[in-house]
């Protein structure tokens, strides 16, 4: 259990800036997730902490040890950092059995043989792989290989566990199972965990705190899963955490009009007017498909169904509000019971159970929170 601190860390490859002046702290024992699109630099954060890369500028501290200082050009080599790493491609050594893989870190630390064996067996048990100790990796499924990688990372009781998209090569069911197991392991071993992913569902499910990173390697928001989901700092965060509807509007004296057709939209709430200090200008109204409420008769707006797709438990509609198309989803059962099954071409009434308002019109102009 150690704290990790980045202080003004910058890193570029050739001319490409990947991280610029990044500072943050991961608290001891916390499960911290960096969520961002692929290629945004989140993997570099992991590699910097592990010591596979050195920062160009800034310092990285683990516990009380400064492990890298860009300006002085020094870095503690990975083997001296007391970390566990799990890679996206498992990186289980194909020429070693499960047991040999898990024993390896202990061998490197010269742990006495008896004790090492005991600890390795325990770690294997923790990831539910008992009985498979003598298998070679090619005899294991992807999920099992990932468990070996986890056991290997845990066995030396590292202060820090780094997981780089460890589940993205697994199928959906297994992914669900594994993310739960990872969370449980972290709790029982009490290590600080940094998890890097582009999958918002995993991030929401396992994190104590989430940092949402954009393509430029900048943190957009750091907060608990509920915070980033319910109070997104900006449209980027909102879009990254689920399917998003954005409705660009122009506001005039508290009334708003669709940017696409000048049709009147819902009024700008007082709270937003107060917070932004204006009742006019460009705004982006945002909501999730589940927050769009369709009805035959009631609802403030008029819409037309342009697409309908049954997805099993969910019916997915695209509704044209007058030049702007929003996506609406309702549960199939609810739809069937309340008679809310629309066909393509039908007219309907539309309301929103919740709307977020972002100032500006499009992400480029949005001020970062």
């Amino acid at each position: 259990m150690s704290e990790i601190e980045f202080r003004s860390v910058s890193k570029s490859f050739r001319t490409k800036k990947v991280l610029e002046n990044l500072s943050f702290t991961i608290r001891p024992g916390e499960c911290f997730t960096i969520l961002g699109p692929s290629g945004c630099g989140k993997t570099i954060v992991v590699r910097l902490i592990a010591g596979f890369e050195t920062p160009d500028r800034g310092t990285i501290r683990i516990g009380t040890t400064t492990v890298a200082d860009g300006s002085k050009g020094y870095a503690l080599p990975p083997e001296n950092r007391n970390i566990g790493v799990v890679f996206q491609d498992y990186a289980v050594w194909p020429h070693m059995t499960v047991l040999e893989n898990v024993l390896y870190p202990l061998r490197m630390q010269k742990v006495p043989k008896e004790e090492a064996l005991q600890r390795a067996k325990m770690a294997i048990q923790q990831v539910n792989m008992e009985g498979l100790e003598d298998r070679l990796p090619y005899q294991l499924s992807g999920g099992q290989q990932q468990r070996v990688a986890l056991a290997r990372a845990l066995v030396s009781k590292p202060a820090i566990l780094l997981l780089d998209e460890p589940l993205s090569n697994l199928d959906a069911n297994l992914r669900e199972e594994m993310r739960f197991e990872i969370k449980e392991l972290q709790k029982s071993t009490n290590s600080t965990l940094l998890y890097v992913t582009h999958d918002q569902e995993v991030a929401l499910a396992i994190s104590d705190r989430i940092a949402v990173m954009n393509e430029k390697g900048e943190f957009q928001q750091v907060g608990t899963p509920e915070e980033v989901y319910d109070q997104p700092a900006n449209p980027f965060v909102f879009r990254f955490l689920g399917i998003a509807n954005f409705i660009p509007v122009h506001a005039r004296d508290g009334k708003t009009f669709l940017a696409s057709s000048a049709k009147e939209f819902l009024p700008l709430p007082d709270t937003v007017q107060k917070a932004e200090g204006t009742s006019s200008g460009k705004f982006l109204a945002a909501c999730r498909p589940m927050e769009v409420e369709l009805s035959h008769t009631s609802g403030p707006l008029e819409g037309k169904v342009v697409r309908k797709a049954l997805l099993g438990p969910i019916i997915d509609y695209r509704i044209d509000l007058g030049g702007t198309v929003v996506r609406a989803q309702l549960q199939t059962e609810e739809g069937s019971m309340k008679g809310l099954i629309f066909e393509e071409g039908d007219s309907c009434r539309v309301g929103f159970s919740r709307l977020l308002w972002f100032p500006g019109n499009g992400e480029g102009e949005v001020t970062h929170g």
Partner: protein, 564 residues
């Protein structure tokens, strides 16, 4: 603040890099540069007219022309034969496919100069057994077939080189996603149209790369033209270089002619490689491997049995007939006798192991190939690691020097090695086994790099990084993770060098001294001296060594693969 690790001024990685560059520069770089220098400069001055004048000499000009004709003809014939048999095995319902596929690769094992020797015995216009038989049978005055001609050289070379094309094309056909052909079929095209418009164009890259190997090989091949052509005054570049150097007792003038001809060879090889690059670089060729479903097979119907017989006959004529001939001739009491039991004896074979010249040759070949294979494998592993894993600045020099020998004909390497190691830099190892050793290392470095790089590329960076994160140092990681994982690549590199080196002729023939003959050189020399029976007996022994070697290695590699 504890225990901060500061980078030393020169890291181990940099030392390894420098050492790698040094090895390649000494072994490959300097010899090549010396060849160009010798070709273009005389007495320290650029001498283009001298260069041109030698090329204009009808003698050398003819050799150059012959080399090109042989390369072109051999490539054409090998490619046609190779593509046809590959298609037959992969895309028709030919019976006994697996066996046939294995059989088509057998000609690889037979060194082509031994094949040429056998065919000379069978089809030489003067004394060829088949010719004599046909003349007697048909009452002819002249021999009906003359193998000792340009046409003969092309046919014999093709016989033993076509597997290059066969192998490439067959595996490409097998890897090809069958839906590529199925979608053509559903588009309305029949099987023949599909073969013409879809299948063949898609395997074109493989056809080209197979053809390229054949072209590079036959352009500068010594053995077959030497055995079938020299007697009749047909020379190609390697045999001409050999003839000049040999007849002048190794004079510098002869060597200079050699370097000029070598330059032409190198340029031709570079042009061939460039042409392939241009054809393939458009990026449009890329065989998409899909899930392995059964590909559509053309039903041969009535042609099924005849085509099987043709295939078997082909193997019989190209492999079994010459092999049997060599063994029989090797047992003859006197050359020219008929193959009857009373004319055969074991004594010839036993003599091979008693007579100093042949005994030495076998010993020389074995230890030179073993040594060269071991050293080249280890050096190749180190250099590949530097190229693939540490990605240093200046790695392109390594890559360039590494692949260069691939396009360097054996003759050129031999000349470069002579220029470098006969005292110019204070080391003279001419006439010692060392010079052959150095030449082998240079010649086979590309094989080692290829095999080792391929193995290293399979070892993803995260495997090494996982080890570092587990507390292992760089060195421990190399020892515990990297080396065990690339061991199969290293072993196959070893054999990829050992086996061809064992039967090497083109390079050794320019480098051997009185006590440093190799097997290839000894067979060639015996044949030159008219000792056909002894040549055949030694060739038989060589064939047995090669056969045993190849089979045990294939088994070994197959076992390794099964373990993976």
């Amino acid at each position: 603040m504890v225990d901060i690790y500061t980078k030393p001024k020169i890291s181990v990685a940099q030392i390894v890099l420098l050492f790698s560059i040094l090895v390649l520069v000494v072994v490959v770089g300097i010899p090549v540069i010396l060849i160009f220098l010798t070709a273009f400069f005389e007495d320290g001055k650029l001498n283009i007219p001298g260069f041109v004048q030698i090329l204009k000499d009808p003698d050398t000009y003819q050799a150059l022309w012959n080399s090109l004709v042989i390369a072109f003809g051999t490539t054409l014939v090998s490619t046609t034969v190779g593509v046809f048999f590959a298609w037959l095995v992969a895309r028709t319902d030919l019976p006994f496919k697996k066996t046939m596929k294995a059989l088509f690769l057998v000609p690889f094992m037979l060194p082509s100069f031994i094949g040429a020797l056998a065919w000379k015995v069978l089809l030489s216009p003067r004394a060829g057994y088949i010719n004599k038989f046909l003349m007697a049978l048909l009452g002819l005055e002249n021999a009906p077939i003359d193998i000792m001609s340009m046409g003969g050289i092309i046919v014999i070379e093709s016989m033993y080189l076509f597997p290059f094309v066969f192998l490439q094309v067959e595996s490409a056909l097998e890897r090809m996603d069958p839906t590529l052909e199925e979608s053509a079929r559903i588009s309305g095209a029949g099987l023949l149209t599909i073969t013409r418009k879809i299948t063949l164009p898609l395997v074109l890259p493989s056809i080209l790369s197979g053809a390229l190997l054949v072209a590079l090989y036959s352009l500068a091949h010594f053995g077959v033209p030497a055995i079938l052509g020299t007697e009749k005054g047909i020379y190609n570049i390697p045999t001409k270089i050999y003839e000049r150097i040999y007849s002048s007792g190794g004079s510098f003038r002869a060597i200079r002619v050699g370097t000029i001809l070598s330059t032409i060879l190198v340029i031709s090889a570079a042009l061939i490689l460039k042409a392939q690059d241009l054809l393939l670089k458009k990026g449009k060729y890329q065989i998409i491997a899909g899930k392995s479903m059964r590909p559509m097979l053309l039903k041969l119907r009535a042609l099924r049995t005849p085509l099987l017989i043709v295939s078997i006959l082909y193997i019989g004529i190209t492999v079994i007939l010459p092999t049997v001939t060599i063994f029989l001739v090797g047992g003859l009491k006197t050359y020219g006798l008929s193959f009857e039991l009373k004319n055969l004896t074991w004594a010839n074979y036993l003599e091979i192991f008693r007579w100093k010249m042949t005994k030495d040759a076998i010993w020389n070949s074995v230890y030179l190939s073993l040594g060269a294979a071991l050293v080249t494998m280890l050096a190749g592993t180190m250099i590949s690691y530097v190229i693939v894993k540490s990605r240093p600045r200046g790695k392109f020099i390594l890559e360039l020097l590494g692949v260069l020998p691939f396009s360097l004909p054996g003759t050129v390497i031999a000349l470069g090695v002579i220029l470098t190691w006969s005292g110019r830099f204070g080391i003279n190892i001419y006439n010692t086994p060392w010079i052959i050793f150095v030449a082998y290392v240079a010649r086979y470095m590309a094989f080692s790099l290829k095999s080792n790089s391929a193995a290293l590329q399979q070892v993803s960076d995260s495997l090494e990084e996982a080890s570092r994160a587990c507390g292992a140092t760089h060195f421990q990681t190399l020892k515990n993770i990297v080396l065990p994982l690339i061991r199969p690549g290293m072993i196959s590199a070893f054999f990829l060098i050992f086996l061809p080196a064992l039967r090497e002729l083109t390079t050794s023939v320019l480098l051997y001294g009185p006590t440093t003959r190799t097997i290839g050189v000894a067979i060639y020399a015996l044949n030159e001296d008219g000792e056909t029976v002894r040549a055949a007996a030694l060739a038989s022994v060589a064939l047995i060594i090669i056969l045993v070697g190849e089979t045990s290695i294939r088994n070994f590699l197959a076992r390794l693969q099964k373990q993976e």
